[in-house]
Each structure stands twice: as structure tokens, then as C-alpha cells.
């Protein structure tokens, strides 16, 4: 019997993060302020610590991972790489399928990789209080876990509809000592304004971001963190791809194609960036971001400067965007409901180094259940997007007889998403579409900045 799991020792946890900026064909476009001029680190220092800002702007190829961060990574890292033999057999495909399983983190997803690092840089900057927002709860959970490890107080503004519908995620954060508030709250000006107009508001990620940023900007002792999109977040996630490279070497293999689910881009960057230099050097490897058809940022969005939040508080970033007013339908993969995307991932898509596909909700759950029956692990709905694309590729190989090596990121488990599975299994789940007119309207209201 060959091994299903390719494991590494804790001494194999990467000592450095990989910064893709060093190997990109062109330097990243700068973030712009409201005046159209590049944003300086000083302007962001009200809410981010120096260590994070330095990484956000860095062009150094290798950035050392602090020993204290590696020490906490040891609680779950290196994560296992699986050879999905039972899935291959179930699909009767000649392709080889590997997946990197990030659900082994206590918080249940890859998000912890960046949460630990971000809390660390705040801690050494003397910051003992951090705010953030969370929708589905993955990022809030990861940050709560990390805050707990460093003795840093975490306040999570949780979108009210999730706060009410996902009490288990809320309790998970509280178990690690975090304070969780329903957003909109009456603790911020942003929240109070919304509540004055809409006392029954169910909240939104845009409102929650506004509350968390407002509080961090107004208190010297408090900073803000984000779980995706920004350069430093993707940098921290490269431990995924770096470990995977080592594990595949151990297995004597190399991927022909890599799939990762794509919302803000932290999975895509984390897994694919460490393979990007090979690709840029002409290696025949496909890097494919997988997004939902109901929020098709990379496949149907415009490459343009836009705000990162719906309220227009953040700097302008050059990225694929559906427009910051775009409201995606309420699919169950809450982590993929984002109008924009990582500027780094967007630029690499624009330059043809990363591709994108979109998959619909029902087919995604079908793939998730098929995977659970083959491998046991019940995937998060976000992760199932990559599974869908990987299965489709394996089935194409079955038709063509190609023995491709397929790799994907299984970014998290679905233990807190069972109500979505219940809907799928009972036949109630449907594909959700946005009105085409809404998308066109949203795309016409982008900030007017030429690139």
C-alpha cells in the first residue's frame, strides 16, 4: 500500500515566507489615496503595525518567519498533503490527485497562518488590542485563536445575520477569549448611523469593516487586521505552497495544474505563488483560481482601480472588481462573496500567469459530497469550489487518457457549514444568479482612475 498522507517533520516548517513580488514580470501597482496619489506606509500606520506595513511594501524574495510564529505553527503545521487515491478510484481517472489539507488548524482553515503572524507583529509593536470583521466566521475564528496565543484582546464585529445564524462560530471565538459583537452595533459612528436608518439591519461585510476600521483608527491602543486581499496576508499564506513543494518532492511528483478557491485570494496566493517562478520561467504548469459563478470577480470583473470595501473607506487598489457596490447573492460559500480580489492575484491574472474559472453552487456541493464520501473529510463550501474544478479536470483526463498530476488546496473543513449541506441533501439548494443589469450598473460606477 502506498501512503495516502505525505507528512513532514516540524523542522520542515518553512523558515521564510516567499514574496512573489520579487519574481513578478512587473512591479505591483501602488495603492492610491482619495487624491489619486500613492498611499504611504505612514498613512496606514494608524491601523497596521510596522512589521506588517514593511511586508505590505516589500520586494524582498524571502522574508524570515519569526521563531515565535513558527512555534505556534507547530500546533498544526506542517499540514498533511494527501494523495487522494480513493477519489481517483471513485472517478476511475488516470490522473493523480493531491490535496493540501489546511483544515487541521484548530480554527479549521488556512486563515490561521496569517492570523498568527499579524497578531505577532502587533504584539511586538506594543499593540494589545485588535479589531476585525467576520462574515462566515473563518477569519474571526483564526484571529481569536491567534489573539489568545499572544494574550492580545480581539474584538470581532460579526455581520448580524451570521451572528444570529451561526452561534457555534460565535461560541468558538468566545472559547478562545474573543469579544464578539453583532454588527451594526451602537459602539461606532458607522454602526449608529446604520441603526438610526435601519433599526433591523442584518448587517453586511462592508458595514462590519467600517466599524472595525473606525474603532482601530480612533484608538491609539488598537489596530485592525484583514484576513485576505492584501499583500502581507498572501505572503503569510505561502507556507502552504512551500510545504506542498517539499511534500511533492518527497513523493517524486510535480503538478500539471493547481486549483485553489478564490474569494479575496489568500488561498490562491498561498498555494500558487511558490510555483509561480517556475511558471514565469516557462515551466508547463497551469495555475487556476476557482470562484463562484454568482460572484465572478476574475472571470467577469473589470481590471480597474476600486475600493476594497463597499463604503469607500479603504485606499483604491488596482484589481479585478465587480464594482464595490456589487451585492453578490447569498451563496453558502460566504468566504467567496467579495466584489474585488487581491491586487497581486489580479495583476498575475491580467498578465496571463494565473487563470480563472467559475463554478455554480449546486455542482460545487455535489463535488463536496462526492469528496466526503471518497475521503471522509467534509469540506468547507469555499474549498469545494477547488474540488469541483479538480474533479472536472480528472474527468477530462478520463476521457483523454491523460495521466496529469492535479493539485488543489482543501482550505478548510465544513463542520460549521452543515446547515448548507442539509439544504443540498434535501434538494433545496439552487444556483443563485445576480441580475446582469446590476453587474453592468455596478461596473459603471467604478472610481474614474486611468491605469
Amino acid at each position: 500500500m502506498s501512503n495516502l498522507k505525505i507528512l513532514l517533520d516540524e523542522s520542515d516548517i518553512p523558515t521564510h515566507w516567499y514574496n512573489v513580488v520579487a519574481d513578478m514580470p512587473n512591479p505591483p501597482a501602488p495603492y492610491l489615496g482619495p487624491n489619486g496619489q500613492p498611499v504611504t506606509p505612514e498613512m496606514m500606520s494608524a491601523i497596521f503595525p510596522p512589521g506588517v506595513l514593511e511586508q505590505e511594501m516589500s520586494a524582498e524574495r524571502w522574508i524570515p518567519i519569526p521563531e515565535k510564529v513558527r512555534e505556534i505553527y507547530r500546533l498544526w503545521r506542517p499540514s498533511p498533503l494527501y494523495r487522494a487515491l480513493p477519489l481517483e478510484q471513485m472517478l476511475d481517472t488516470p490522473a493523480k490527485i493531491y490535496f493540501k489539507y489546511e483544515g487541521v488548524s484548530p480554527a479549521g482553515s488556512h486563515k490561521s497562518n496569517s492570523a498568527v503572524a499579524q497578531v505577532y507583529y502587533n504584539k511586538i509593536a506594543g499593540i494589545n488590542r485588535i479589531t476585525t470583521e467576520t462574515g462566515a466566521g473563518q477569519w474571526g475564528s483564526a484571529l481569536s485563536l491567534a489573539g489568545n496565543m499572544f494574550g492580545v484582546t480581539i474584538r470581532v464585529y460579526m455581520v448580524k445575520v451570521s451572528y444570529d445564524q451561526k452561534p457555534m462560530r460565535r461560541t468558538m471565538m468566545q472559547t478562545w477569549g474573543a469579544e464578539v459583537l453583532a454588527s451594526p452595533s451602537n459602539l461606532t459612528e458607522a454602526g449608529r448611523q446604520i441603526l438610526a436608518q435601519h433599526p433591523d439591519s442584518q448587517g453586511s461585510l462592508g458595514i462590519a469593516i467600517a466599524e472595525a476600521v473606525e474603532e482601530a483608527a480612533s484608538r491609539k491602543d488598537t489596530n485592525y487586521t484583514l484576513g485576505s486581499v492584501l499583500n502581507h496576508v498572501l505572503l503569510h499564506q505561502t507556507v502552504i505552497g512551500l510545504e506542498t513543494r517539499k511534500q511533492l518532492e518527497k513523493a517524486g511528483d510535480y503538478p500539471d495544474v493547481i486549483f485553489a478557491p478564490c474569494g479575496g485570494g489568500s488561498n490562491v496566493g498561498g498555494m500558487m505563488f511558490p510555483f509561480l517562478a517556475d511558471k514565469a520561467a516557462g515551466k508547463n504548469i497551469r495555475l487556476v483560481a476557482v470562484e463562484p459563478t454568482s460572484c465572478p470577480t476574475l472571470t467577469r470583473g473589470k481590471y480597474a482601480y476600486d475600493y476594497g470595501d463597499s463604503a469607500g473607506l479603504t485606499p483604491l487598489m488596482l484589481m479585478y472588481t465587480l464594482g464595490h457596490n456589487f451585492m453578490p447573492p447569498g451563496i453558502h460559500a460566504g468566504g467567496l462573496r467579495y466584489h474585488g480580489d487581491s491586487p497581486l492575484v489580479s495583476q498575475l491574472c491580467q498578465e496571463g500567469l494565473i487563470e480563472a474559472v467559475a463554478v455554480p453552487q449546486v455542482a460545487t456541493f455535489e463535488a463536496g459530497v462526492l469528496f466526503a464520501r471518497a475521503m471522509g473529510i467534509i469540506p468547507a463550501p469555499e474549498s469545494s469550489h477547488a474540488i469541483r474544478a479538480a474533479i472536472d479536470e480528472a474527468l477530462r483526463c478520463k476521457q483523454t487518457g491523460e495521466t496529469k498530476t492535479i493539485l488543489f488546496t482543501l482550505s478548510g473543513h465544513g463542520h460549521f457549514d452543515m446547515s448548507a449541506y442539509e439544504k443540498y441533501l434535501s434538494g433545496e439548494l439552487q444556483d443563485l444568479n445576480y441580475p446582469e443589469a446590476d453587474l453592468q450598473d455596478s461596473l459603471q460606477h467604478l472610481p474614474n482612475i486611468s491605469i
Copy 2:
């Protein structure tokens, strides 16, 4: 930095289960039928396959694990042994603390170790349909996962109150293709009788067992499975202790004391039996079963023949029991609410080789939260019983300065128990007591069989 996780290769998955019967000072007492005569394998063959019955009666020391079972074990085994350094630091204890983490199984607990084996022996006996009962849902989940792997239909009678209150566990089983029914149901005579008298019955484990056994006994194509108590179940769980021995050897260590949570005894047997021969040979090692004070089978029960179920349908077993009519309070560690205990564990307690302690509910959750903050992992309430005892031992070591090596089984994660954590964190959780008169009454109604 020393490693937190001591890992084994898949080739280190044990090739044989260890049968403690071979090393017990005295042979196990036989199960008795209603007539007081020993039960024969033939009498149990209506609901169990030959492979299982053979193991139930075996005195062979080593029993080969079928290759097909080892193949499925590879999905999550060998499970990691952790050196709990962050917990040691938090407690400021000179003791070393290790724990074996069984929550890495896709079903979330050690239960899968026996579920896979039991489904396998049914499958090779031509049985493609299995019934079982589940309360909290751990066993039902494990059996559903295993049934899915072998293409065996699983029907789970789930206690109605759990069916209604734990929809996520229900959906998990359905995701793996199992059929889940609320018990009492109108599909069995036992269920119909209850519903006729109590149309609003919330069910009980005793009723669910009765329904599952009735269906299995009345259909030639259907067998029944049990997730704890019986010899073959504990046998299958010995992979836990066998792997742990190997992992401790790798770490150059040996335990002074082992703690495992105890409901029906499958954790205790699984972890401790492989260390029992050492103990019987005079090695200075303490083996301690940890049970809830609200269901104190080993610490306050009587060593006597009693039924395994509340309805008196099963054979009589010589075990520690609170009486089959004893109704434990509704603590959140549903897996530990059992009036009896494994006959093997009971006999070894009676002979002084295994000890028992009882811990109350609030202190147990306090230990679980402390553990989650030290190690990240949120434990199942059942598992937290062993954590409580291990922490107490480590704190004693702090007082005495002893550098003991403490080992415990972390039998599962608490992802589906967050509502219990919510109660604890909000201060609503209380210690639950049974009326002493009820216990005395229950103990006076044991079957009249001299031992």
C-alpha cells in the same frame, strides 16, 4: 525547539489488535442469558457477524487487522501524539503531559476505529445493511462514515431530543449517505408502543437500542452494531494504545499515569489495555478511568450482573453498574451517560489494575476551555473529563515538585458541542446531581444473580 507532535508513518499503523484477555489475571466472566446460563455465540448470531462474535469470545493475544481495515485507517491514522508543552507552561508544572489526539478522524472521534472494523466483518459476511442507535451522535457519525466506505447501508435510530437539538450531527451522517430516524419511530413495535403511550416522547438511548436491535433481529439481511462496552469494540480501539507506545518510545518516554474518559469503556480499553501487561507484571504505572460525578458507574456502582440496556433485552453482563433503571442527569457529555461499563474494564477495576475517579461538570468544562486556550484544539466534553484529571495531576506535581509523565486520550473534538460551551461561558452551566435515593433504589433492582 522540540517537536509538539510525535508522528508515525502509515506503515506504523498496527498490524494486529491487542486482546487484553490473554494477559488478564482471571478469565472474563461469561455473559448470561435470561435463564442464567452462559450465552453462546449462536444466540448472538442473529445480530452480529461471525468475525465479530469470534473476537468477542477470543483469548488470543494478537488478532490480525484485515488489510482493508488498515487501508481505511490510513485516511487519518496514525493519529498524532502531542507533547503538550504550551499546557505545561500555562500550568507551570514540572510534569510532562502527552495526549493522543483521536479527533483527527473525519467523524471526529476514536469511534471510527471500531466502526470500520465492524462494518468490514459484516460486509464479508454478506451483510449490506446495519442498524444502530446514537445519542449525542459520535457513534452514529463514525458508523455512517464506515458504512459509506464499504457501501453498506446504515440506519441510525437517533434519540429524538438529539435529532431535534443536534441537526448538524444528523446532517453529517446523511452526508455520508446514512439514513437517520428520530427514535421512537413508528417503524418498530418498540417504537410504536412508546408512541401509543407517549405521543410526545423525546426518546432515550434505551428505546433507540430496542428499536435498532428489534429491526436487526427481525431481518435476515440486517445486523446491529454497538459503539462501546463489548469486548470486540475495546479490542478494535487498542490501535490507540499501541500507536501511543510506539510514539512514546520515539520520544524516549514512558507514562507514570494514564487518564482516559470513561462512559462505556472504549477509550479506557483502547488506550490502557496495551499498557496493562506491564502493570500486571509489576511496572509502576497508574491507569485511571475518569467518569462524571453525575454518572459514577465505577466509583459508586455495584459490581454485579446487570442488563446492558434499560429495557432488559441484552444478555446479563458482570460489570460495575448503577442499575439499568438509573437515569443520569442531562450532562453535556452525552457519551458518558451510561449506567454500566465494559465488563473487561469493570473486572480490571475490581482486580485493582485500573482505578477510577469522578469529576463534576463545571470543573470539566473549565479544564476544556483552559486546554483550548493552551493548545488551540477545542475538546469534546467527554474528552475534557480526562483533561480535568490530567490537569489536576499536573498541579499536584507542581506542589510536590515531581516530574511525572502524564498521558491522556483526547478522544474527540468539540465542534458539534459548541452550545454546551456557550452555556459554560455564559455562566449558565451547573453541576448536576442525581437524587441519592434514586441511585439506592436503582441498585436494589439489579437482577438477582450471585457472582
